[in-house]
């Protein structure tokens, strides 16, 4: 391959890695300021993630403990992968889906509705139906924003943010005291328990095992890769994303692609919700609906993973591991207090997003300068209507 190709690949891998390292370095400074040893703290956090399980030199006694932590990490990684795909797919169509959180929440609602009904259904059918409901609910929520953009040019960033709040408040109303979907305990604001027949199969572990959602997440990454890179539909989506005018010139239905891309993104986010309630939570507590951040962290994962399948998998593992490694349960409190560590995780996440934003800005400025130098006839790739 030529130099250009090599350079672009190096940038695609090197920049996110450098970003992450930088974020951890700055995070280390914060740790040092609190009077703790940053290297020891990171060491403890890493142990907390359970990732040492994969090293062949880990002693078998430590391995059992690491396995428990790694199971936690994977459980949190699964929804992050799906939530990141919810951002990545519309992104390839030139849209920024901020609505992953709302789509995640309506996905939970769909999975709960199906999962808390049909007690006598066979497990494969029940699970399939519950997943399908979650995907469809999420897709519908995404499609609303897509249709608004296609019909009147409403910008998806604004509409998906508003749809997030509609989903969150709507779901809170559904499960709150005397809400239509509140569970059997009349004084507890939470949903009923998902029937065992609708729960995802356990894959690894006993205490809180990794569930079959991990196959779903891996499958979703493969589907995403093939759909985007190897199908005519994905070709059209990318064409619209890069240059909607050229897509129109080529006869690609631009408006239809907007709706489809946001629907597919919404379906991924909906499945993320299903994995959480069908995989390990089994019910939803009203207070947790507004507190959940999965959809938003998904944005950071997609950004760090550069919207590529492999990148998203690795970035999700990083963010999932960070969350588990800094949790009260996993982190050794004598080395670094978990209540500080939880904030450290948020600081590192924030720094990563900030640095990626700075990179995008740099690239943008650099392109502007290059355009100034060699004036080209280029038009804005998409028209954004004033709101």
């Amino acid at each position: 391959m030529n130099r250009e190709w090599f350079k672009s690949k190096a940038a695609a891998v090197g920049l996110p890695v450098a970003t992450t390292i930088l974020a951890f370095l700055v995070g280390g400074l914060v740790v040092a300021v609190t009077g703790h040893n940053p290297i020891a703290a990171y060491r403890a956090i890493f142990d907390g993630t359970g990732l040492s399980y994969v090293f062949p030199w880990t002693a078998s006694a430590d391995k059992a403990f690491a396995a428990l932590n790694l199971q936690q990490t994977l459980i949190l990684t699964i929804p992050l992968v799906l939530a990141a795909l919810a951002v990545a797919f519309p992104y390839r169509c030139g849209m920024f889906n901020i609505g992953g959180q709302g789509q995640y929440v309506v996905g939970i609602v769909g999975a709960i509705i199906v999962g808390t009904h049909f007690a006598s259904m066979s497990k494969p059918l029940h699970v399939t139906l519950a997943l399908l409901a979650a995907a469809l609910f999420g897709a519908f929520w995404g499609a609303i924003a897509g249709a608004m953009k296609a019909a009147v040019g409403a910008h998806e960033v604004i509409s998906t943010i508003m749809l997030n709040w509609i989903a969150i408040y709507g779901a809170q109303w559904l499960f709150e005291l005397n809400g239509p979907l509140q569970g059997p305990q009349r004084d507890v604001p939470q949903s009923a328990e998902v029937f065992p027949s609708a729960r995802l199969w356990s894959v690894w572990g006993t205490l809180q095992p990794v569930h079959a959602g991990i196959y779903l997440a891996i499958g979703a990454l493969i589907v995403y890769y093939i759909l985007i890179n190897r199908t005519t539909f994905g070709y059209g989506v990318r064409a619209v994303g890069y240059n909607a005018d050229a897509a129109r010139y080529a006869g690609i239905p631009v408006a239809r692609n907007y709706v489809a891309a946001l629907s597919i993104g919404g379906a991924f986010a909906g499945l993320a919700g299903a994995c959480d309630v069908l995989g390990w939570e089994y019910h939803i507590v009203t207070n947790d609906i507004a507190a959940s951040q999965v959809g938003f962290i998904g944005i950071a994962v997609a950004l760090l993973g550069r919207n590529s399948a492999v990148g998203i998998a690795l970035a999700a593992l990083l963010f999932g591991g960070l969350e588990v490694g800094t949790s009260t349960r996993a982190l050794d409190p004598t080395i670094f207090p978990p209540q500080l560590a939880g904030n450290l995780a948020i600081i590192i996440q924030g720094l990563i997003v900030l640095f990626i934003g700075a990179q995008l800005l740099l690239v943008y400025v650099w392109r502007l300068r290059r355009q100034k130098r060699e004036p080209q006839i280029t038009a804005p790739s998409e028209k954004v209507s004033p709101i």
């Binding site: 030529n2 250009e4 890179n229 199908t231 240059n243 050229a246 006869g251 006839i377 280029t378």
Partner: protein, 507 residues
């Protein structure tokens, strides 16, 4: 030369990364001289002028003004010493009057207020002195392009410019207007103003310049007096090899009409009627050229023909099939290829690879794909064949379109639009922004396609192009076909028709 030149550039070098845009360029301009700077796109003309205008700092070399070294940190410094520049894209404020635009930032004052009366008087003085007639109280948005150009020139003269840089000044003008501009240039020269005239049109350079400097790939290949220079010689210097200036073609043998347009009405993006009842026909085996001043409905006509916009009424038949309002795919399916005016906006997805770009029209059908799945290898194989056939340089199938030069990008568009069974080809400004070598290729290819029996509609603002390529010329004025001519028609006659015949009395 006994006299110190007014301006001297010595060994100017400017690098952008690995690219050497200006490589030790020497240039001198005498008092009252019209010095033409000739070169292809990317030869370094604009970079050099931006150095001279204080926009770029050179990496090496000196600028001497009246023998004294000059350090320019910004255009303000350049204006201070008397260097004025008229950019290709005018920098005027549409809602302000001619006078206000000219004196902007250097207004004569009365207390804290601008002395409009005095400003107008000054403007009138300068415009009379150089024969640049303008109406000082008109608003910029109400006057034509040629008038706006005069305002730009006046702006520089108001700031006491002794050297005026004109960047491709005739690109936006009709032949008559260009003639008037030349008169102005001559009058400026007579009164001692030096002029650097940037152009890639050989004919006008020979007509107006005293001396000509040719740039090629960042280097000055030579300076010679205009007297005795030939178009052929200059073209060879520009390109570095011999080129065919005239398009060689056999007489057309048109047969059946392949494109028929009847009573077409199209609105522009603002909802105003831009094409007003246009009818025409393009037959197999002929090139029909549409001449006209920009903004007379050409863009809307092309967009309607190719399905990018729906006409409000009328018939567009491609090979006997009405495609009006059917979208881009209907026009394409009926056999129409489209080389769009803005290749980077419509013709290419710049971030796609060449292989993907070449499949833009046919990706949804075999052999590019089956039941919705792409075949990247087949796409690449087809791309390789096309890239070779159309002599696209600097690109493999996996190269992003963005990294190609303009000329090679255009070749990719042409390769895609003429391959396959395209019976009608609409080429809109197919050589805009291309260099001489690429223009030669595009012209030759269009004639080849004509000889294969395709019907070709050529829309261009370059009269030379229309005249040399077309077998039949239609003049478009205010949304209709105003006149039809054989290719032997004179530029002057076309110019008259292009402006609605209003100048018939004065021409």
């Amino acid at each position: 030369m006994a006299e110190t030149p007014l301006l001297e550039l010595r060994g100017i070098t400017k690098r952008f990364g690995n690219l050497v845009a200006n490589d030790h360029i020497d240039l001198d301009v005498a008092h009252g001289e019209v010095h033409a700077l000739l070169g292809e796109n990317g030869a370094g003309k604009s970079t050099l002028m931006n150095v001279l205008y204080g926009l770029y700092t050179p990496d090496a070399g000196d600028i001497l003004f009246e023998g004294k070294p000059l350090h320019l940190r910004s255009p303000r410094d350049a204006i201070q010493v008397g260097i004025g520049m008229v950019h290709q894209h005018f920098m005027l404020i549409p809602v302000m009057t001619v006078t206000e635009n000219i004196v902007l930032a250097e207004e004569p004052r009365k207390g804290v207020l601008m002395d409009y009366g005095k400003a107008r008087e000054t403007v009138r003085d300068i415009s009379e002195r150089y024969g640049l007639a303008v109406r000082p109280d008109d608003k910029i948005e109400d006057i034509g392009v040629a008038q706006q150009q005069r305002v730009e020139i006046l702006k520089a003269l108001y700031r006491k410019a002794r050297i005026l840089i004109l960047d491709e000044p005739t690109a936006v003008l009709t032949p008559q207007e260009a003639g008037e501009l030349f008169a102005v240039v001559k009058s400026l020269r007579e009164q001692g103003t030096s002029i650097i005239f940037i152009s890639h049109k050989l004919g006008e350079v020979l007509e107006i310049a005293d001396r000509i400097t040719v740039l090629r790939r960042g280097k000055a290949v030579g300076t010679e007096p205009a007297e005795g220079a030939t178009e052929q010689g200059l073209a060879e210097q520009m390109v570095g090899r011999s080129v065919l200036l005239r398009v060689e073609k056999k007489p057309a043998t048109p047969t059946d009409p392949l494109l028929t347009v009847r009573d077409l009405h199209v609105n522009d993006t603002r909802g105003l009627e831009a094409v007003r009842g246009l009818s025409m026909e393009v037959r197999s085996g002929e090139i029909v050229g549409i001449a006209g001043v920009d903004g007379n409905g050409q863009t809307e006509l092309v967009e309607a023909l190719t399905g990018l916009v729906s006409p409000t009424s009328g018939v567009i038949e491609i090979g006997g099939k009405d495609v009006a309002g059917g979208g881009a795919e209907a026009s394409f399916e009926a056999g129409m290829g489209h080389i769009p005016e803005d290749r980077q906006r419509f013709g290419l997805v710049l971030d796609f690879t060449l292989s993907e770009n070449l499949a833009l029209r046919e990706f949804h059908s075999p052999p590019e794909s089956t039941i919705g799945f792409l075949w990247p290898r087949r796409m690449a194989r087809r791309a390789r064949t096309l890239l070779e056939e159309f002599d696209v340089r600097g690109g493999e199938p996996q190269t992003p379109a963005r990294s190609l030069s303009g000329g090679n990008q255009q070749k990719v568009v042409i390769a895609r639009e003429v391959s396959g069974d395209r019976r009608v080809l609409v080429a809109s400004q197919p050589t805009r922004g291309l260099d001489v070598g690429a223009i030669e290729f595009v012209h030759r290819r269009l004639v080849e396609e004509r000889d294969k029996g395709r019907a070709i509609l050529l829309v261009s603002f370059e009269l030379e192009e229309i005249l040399s390529l077309s077998d039949r010329i239609l003049v478009m004025y205010e949304g209709r076909i105003a006149a039809e001519h054989p290719p032997t028609v004179s530029e002057a006659q076309l110019g008259i028709d292009m402006t609605g015949g209003r100048r018939a009395a004065t021409a």
